[in-house]
Symmetry: C2
């Protein structure tokens, strides 16, 4: 049992524009930084994310009934630059980066190489709800004529439902949505596991704020906050950062989870997420760590060698719905999980950390869904990675070489 | 348009047992080799695949409604041995391998480190249908008391359907099934792409034979033939080989495809697979190569940078249902696709090749399903791999950096 230490709950938010019109939003831990006023001095040309509609495309895969994103322009994206050319470090005189300010706490900006873009302005002119503890000001997301035209061309049905009969084999849609980058710290050589609990709270405020802001944009059905960590899974920038995607459809995994939760409720049971957490608490064998507001466990049917789910004890549909206490208690627990993963291998393993949230603006789904974070270590033993080969990539069948109870035990003993 | 050259259609099949009781089946291109009579001189101890029931487990993932295989004993499997210790080369005096004979054409044997095992004897005492052109003899698969007990403990419902109410959160089943290894050639330094069309025909006969044989075993619902190629996706043995899995459930991807095909038919359309092939033929932009009996194209919604689907022109549900002409014409076309992939990068890229077949013994599914092979290159550019990170592994959303029409064009020009 870990006692949650209460980090500062106040976050000061301010937003500006990069040279090509992309939005940048600072989440400061103290007031008056003036960072959003610092001008981006770069000449980024005309091919800006803000000025153009999506040049990616959604294509319908008729064999499995899912949308695939075809995003060719990303082949040119920045690939493992040397540390002194990191685009995620604060700008220094003579070396402007993606972040014009000379320092930052947490900063979010629109991805320069987005696979989804052009989402419309918030339906609510106020620009969406900000997290309960977030202060500062925000402007509504702008939309340009080009993005408007792309949206107009995007006829019903919305992506995420099946296309009409005439398009059942070949449906395509502009890949409308939004891709943002979240920098967790200005310190290039740090990592999420080495943040303070107070900083994790600030990151959580940023995630919650962006979930709310993107969730009310036209064309976005679901907001996804995640971190890819480690070159082994293709991370192209070492600076500690994560990503936020606003998808124009409900993702396959989320749709599956909602289908399961609905079937479970229809079967006369309670809430699937509540019952799963209750079941793990009563079993106990796979609990890695917990505090008053969060529980972390290895799922009984873990797919990854070291996979940990973090659920808030009180179910909420998404990050903006988290109460102040749960927000304060999160950092302590998540850092504990990450440090246990580090301890397991003697060094930080490559991992994927994924926030599962209810689709935006879907009242029925919100009443059923249970927010949770899923951390998946790609490493299965020192020097050995888990690959997604023939069974996983071909058939969707996961084979896990590590028994979940053994994984939980090793994680319990790893600190 | 490639003219199919007719390779020898006759295959001589014979089977024996390895030292620990595992079955080994030779598919010879000429009669009288006597290979199945060569004794395995190794002392492999008591922990044999044939003697034991499954020590892996299926666990139900209640959040998405799928079975996961927990297969801990595989952590000890052979990992990139030096070439002179390759377990897939023929045995030499003083160096026995998994293949007792001193040479072979194509050979199949039960995996020594299976994630699924203990499938029951064929329901048909004759041991299942062999491919039309396959000759030789085979014995029905044996089953031992231990496997029998595991099967008896495996109460209804079968894996692959949802578990009963009392187990909705925690269902487990013994991981019954079968894992086989297919060696494509005795030449350690070769690769599938360098086989002759005649040899590919022999491999196809082996795949068809095993699909029929495993498909009638008790506990097996679906047979999956595939090849993982390249260290980049975790291949632990370089000798040219593939794998065959007999799953105790219909795999998630297959279930999805059947669901789509059924919805398409219910919507008043024809057969989804037929219409997809017709649509690709009439569009033409993504066709890579074809002959009288097969067509190879990049799907419009390709998920992998270089992904090619191979469909027989005349739809069949599975490999055993392929006619003699289609069997003869396959090697030429598939080798052409593989050599084009090699040509793209100047060297063979890592890939996954996956055969999609109708579930075994399901008449309705067999009448709807369209057999096809899917080749997925994991490489997206020289030195750059496609990783399954946050969007793919976390949400099931695929983002492809290569436009499928461009991929098809490059493959068209690659020879």
């Amino acid at each position: 049992m870990h006692e949650a230490t209460a980090p500062p709950a106040q976050v000061w938010k301010s937003s500006g524009r990069l040279a090509d019109g992309r939005e940048i939003i600072y989440f400061d831990e103290s007031p008056g930084s003036g960072r959003a006023q610092v001008r981006d001095t770069r000449d980024l040309g005309d091919s800006s994310a803000a000025a153009a509609g999506p040049d990616s495309e959604l294509r319908w895969d008729p064999l499995v009934g899912e949308w695939v994103v075809i995003a060719a322009q990303r082949q040119g994206r920045t690939f493992l630059p040397p540390a002194d050319q990191c685009p995620l470090c604060p700008s220094r005189p003579g070396r402007p980066t993606e972040i014009p300010a000379d320092s930052y706490d947490v900063v979010v900006f629109e991805n320069r190489f987005p696979s989804l873009r052009g989402a419309g302005p918030a339906q609510d002119a106020a620009g969406g709800v900000t997290g309960a503890a977030a202060g500062g000001v925000t402007g509504a997301a702008d939309i340009t004529p080009a993005a408007d035209a792309a949206l107009a061309a995007w006829s019903a049905p919305a992506a995420g439902t099946s296309p009409p009969a005439g398009e059942l084999l070949t449906a395509r849609r502009p890949a409308i949505g939004r891709c943002e980058v979240v920098c967790f710290t200005a310190d290039h050589d740090s990592a999420f596991a080495y943040l303070t609990p107070g900083r994790v709270r600030t990151v959580l405020e940023a995630w919650a704020d962006r979930t709310a802001a993107l969730g009310v944009m036209t064309g976005i059905r679901q907001v996804y906050c995640f971190e890819n960590k480690g070159e082994e899974i293709g991370v192209t920038l070492h600076h500690p950062h994560g990503q936020i995607y606003g998808f124009p459809f409900v993702t396959p995994r989320t749709a599956q989870m909602l289908g399961q939760a609905q079937a479970y409720a229809r079967g006369g049971h309670g809430n699937l997420f509540d019952d799963l957490v209750r079941s793990e608490l009563s079993d106990g064998a796979r609990i890695v760590t917990r505090n008053e507001h969060w529980i972390a466990f290895v799922p009984a049917a873990a797919r990854w060698p070291y996979e940990v789910l973090l659920f808030p004890v009180r179910r909420v549909p998404d990050l903006p719905a988290l109460g102040d206490d749960a927000r304060s208690a999160f950092g302590d627990l998540y850092l504990d999980v990450l440090l246990r993963l580090n301890g397991l291998f003697g060094s930080p393993p490559p991992y994927i950390a994924a926030w599962y949230q209810a689709p935006a603006g879907d009242a029925a789904a919100r009443s059923e869904f249970g927010l949770h974070l899923r951390v998946m270590s790609v490493q299965r033993a020192p020097g050995k990675l888990k690959y997604l080969a023939g069974t996983e990539s071909g058939m969707g069948v996961w084979i896990n070489d590590v028994v979940p109870e053994a994984a939980a035990l090793r994680l319990q003993e790893a600190r």
